[in-house]
């Protein structure tokens, strides 16, 4: 019973602390939050790995491998997508440096803004009314 009590405590504490922390996340970041929590739920891979710590039939091996694959997909995919989204939320340079049609603003700190084929087009856009 002590085991259940400890686990119940872990659950409750993490739920409450998580609740308090996450209720401060601004609406702006709700989508990255969802993909982050998706990534975190990929931790179920730990249970998959534990399956492999004992004798297994072929069926179990297949099940375990499939489960692990999905969990890893969640983990890698989730963290990468979240990072991609968060990279979009940066302070942009002022309006004078409007970028190309359909390509958004110039991003000085990534490679996209410094590609050699871009500079000429940027100068055209600066001719604003």
């Amino acid at each position: 019973m002590a085991g259940l009590f400890l686990m119940g405590t872990v659950f409750l504490v993490c739920f409450l602390v998580g609740y308090l922390l996450i209720s401060r996340v601004p609406q702006l970041l709700h989508t990255p939050l969802m993909s982050l929590t998706n990534a975190i739920s990929g931790v179920v891979i730990l249970a998959c790995l534990l399956l492999f710590a004992a004798e297994m039939t072929t069926a179990e091996k297949v099940l375990g491998a499939v489960a692990a694959a999905f969990a890893l997909f969640n983990l890698v995919g989730g963290f990468v997508i979240t990072d991609r989204m968060l990279r979009l939320f940066r302070k942009r340079p002022p309006a004078e440096t409007v970028g190309l049609t359909g390509r958004g603003l110039v991003r000085p700190d990534t490679n996209e803004g410094t590609r050699p084929d871009r500079p000429e087009k940027e100068k055209d856009i600066l001719a604003l009314p």
């Binding site: 989508t31 939050l33 998959c48």
Partner: protein, 473 residues
């Protein structure tokens, strides 16, 4: 059971990572911190247990990781809701597969572990099938309108009872029949997920996927209790909390209770949304309904609506842009951002008003606009936006319907009654760039279209905005 100290460090790392998510500038660090904590948990587990025959894993895992990397780096922001729902389902699948394997082979599990394993199986299966249906709807592969089987309520009730009975049976039965009970329980749970997900309409998706997110956390936590793995329990609890917060936030933002969402009470008036496979043709995600639109809008300026619109934009000094999901569908966000930048450079005050349920999932419009290059400081939430709208010269509505629908305030008994809206009508002038005047997901007519201060620039938003840009040059 692994060493408590290491567990505490890992869980602490995760919580800190989540805490950093409150701040936009530090959120990326929080994400990386969580990733590191999870990696640490995996390494600790690998180190602590010797694995027999890991060959299968060594083949499968790198493939899964590469596939995930490829998908994650190529997905577009407009596809994010379907992607997130899919991943949620994948997590649920992993949970129920693991539970099934553990339960099927291990008759020496304690009753407590067994019970939680069964809970994990059931919740994981519901999460999986529910999320897959949701993902299909969000990807516009499945029909958006609420679907039902004949006598849906009765069938659902029967399936729920069946789930309980089989679940109880699975806890008790540890003999040779156990496998059949488990397999039946799995099938029934999967069916339950499908039945729950079918009636949820396109407009209710933000609430539903938030709820599914919470469920996947629960499945995770139950799995953790079954395997007595503390980091797993901690993660499940956190994800559950996050899902719950988002579900409540979405319900509040739409003024709908969760059970109404599950019941799909918008069914009678849900629009028939045809494929958005040709998104360039839709300036607005509004579709046809059973009630024909009868608004007749006066256009006193004659047929030069565009000229009128251009004048309104030119004369306005404070402009609030209200983008809806239709913007993303028409892929008009780039033109919109270009227009905003141009107006700003001309000395006007421009900001974007983002309703909490704009888009298909919480915060969706924010990432769609960020992808198009908007400074996130210009994205206003509901209350600041409404304050700004009181003093605005022009409210530019693009591909949005319900979020600016004054009927939410004036009319009782509709799906959007009482829903907080963006008060576009408070601006001195309103320019609406929607595909047509048909109602949105709620099926409620929008009196904003008939407002004398409204200019209706109907048609494909992308081309309309392009024409505006050309005339303003």
């Amino acid at each position: 059971m692994s060493i408590i100290v290491i567990d505490v460090l890992i869980i602490g790392g995760l919580l800190t990572g989540v805490a950093l998510f409150r701040n936009t500038e530090r959120a990326r660090l929080g994400n990386s911190l969580c990733a590191v904590a999870v990696l640490a948990a995996v390494l600790v587990t690998v180190k602590e247990h010797s694995f027999r025959e890991p060959t299968v894993l060594i083949f499968v895992l790198p493939i899964a990781a590469t596939l995930a990397w490829y998908v994650a780096t190529s997905v577009r922001m407009i596809q994010i809701p379907a992607m997130v729902a899919f991943q949620n389902g994948a997590g649920g699948m992993a949970a129920f597969l693991v539970s099934y394997a553990e339960l099927a082979r291990n008759v020496t599990l304690s009753p407590m572990s067994r019970s939680f394993g069964i809970l994990s199986l059931v919740v994981g299966a519901i999460t999986f099938s529910g999320s897959m249906i949701a993902s299909g709807k969000l990807a516009n592969i499945l029909n958006q309108r609420p679907a039902r089987v004949p006598r849906h309520g009765a069938v659902l009730g029967a399936v729920v009872v069946g789930t309980f009975l089989l679940g109880a049976g699975a806890i008790v039965e540890t003999g040779p029949g156990a496998l059949y009970v488990l397999a039946s329980l799995l099938v029934v749970s999967l069916g339950l997920g499908v039945l729950l997900s079918m009636p949820v309409g396109g407009g209710d998706m933000p609430v539903w996927i938030s709820f599914l997110n919470a469920l996947s956390g629960l499945a995770c936590a139950f799995c953790g209790i079954m395997t007595q793995n503390r980091p797993l329990i901690a993660c499940g609890a956190m994800v559950g909390a996050s899902g719950l917060i988002l579900t409540l936030a979405m319900c509040r933002a739409m003024n709908r209770h969760l059970w109404k969402v599950l019941a799909g009470s918008r069914a009678d008036r849900a629009p028939e949304i045809t494929q958005a496979a040709e998104p360039q043709n839709h300036g607005d995600k509004c579709g046809p309904t059973s009630a024909p639109v009868e608004w007749h809008v006066d256009q006193p300026e004659g047929r030069d609506v565009l000229g009128h619109a251009v004048a309104a934009v030119r004369d306005a000094n404070t402009i609030i842009i209200i983008p809806g999901y239709g913007t993303a569908l028409a892929q008009a966000q780039f033109e919109l951002v270009e227009l905003a930048s141009k107006l700003e450079a001309a000395g006007k005050d421009v900001a974007f008003a983002i309703h909490p349920v704009a888009g298909r999932m919480p915060g969706h419009m924010n990432v769609v606009l960020a992808e198009a290059g908007v400074d996130y400081a210009k994205l206003l939430e509901l209350d600041p936006a409404n304050s700004a709208l009181e003093n605005a010269d022009l409210a530019l509505v693009v591909g949005a319907c319900d979020v600016v629908n004054p009927a939410a305030i004036s009319t009782e008994g509709t799906p959007i009654s009482g829903m907080p809206i963006l008060l576009a009508q408070n601006a001195k002038q309103i320019l609406v760039c929607n595909l047509d005047q048909k109602p949105g997901y709620s099926g409620v007519e929008n009196p904003l279209y008939a407002n004398p201060r409204t200019i209706l620039l109907l048609g494909d938003a992308k081309s309309n905005l392009r024409r505006l840009l050309e005339r303003l040059a």
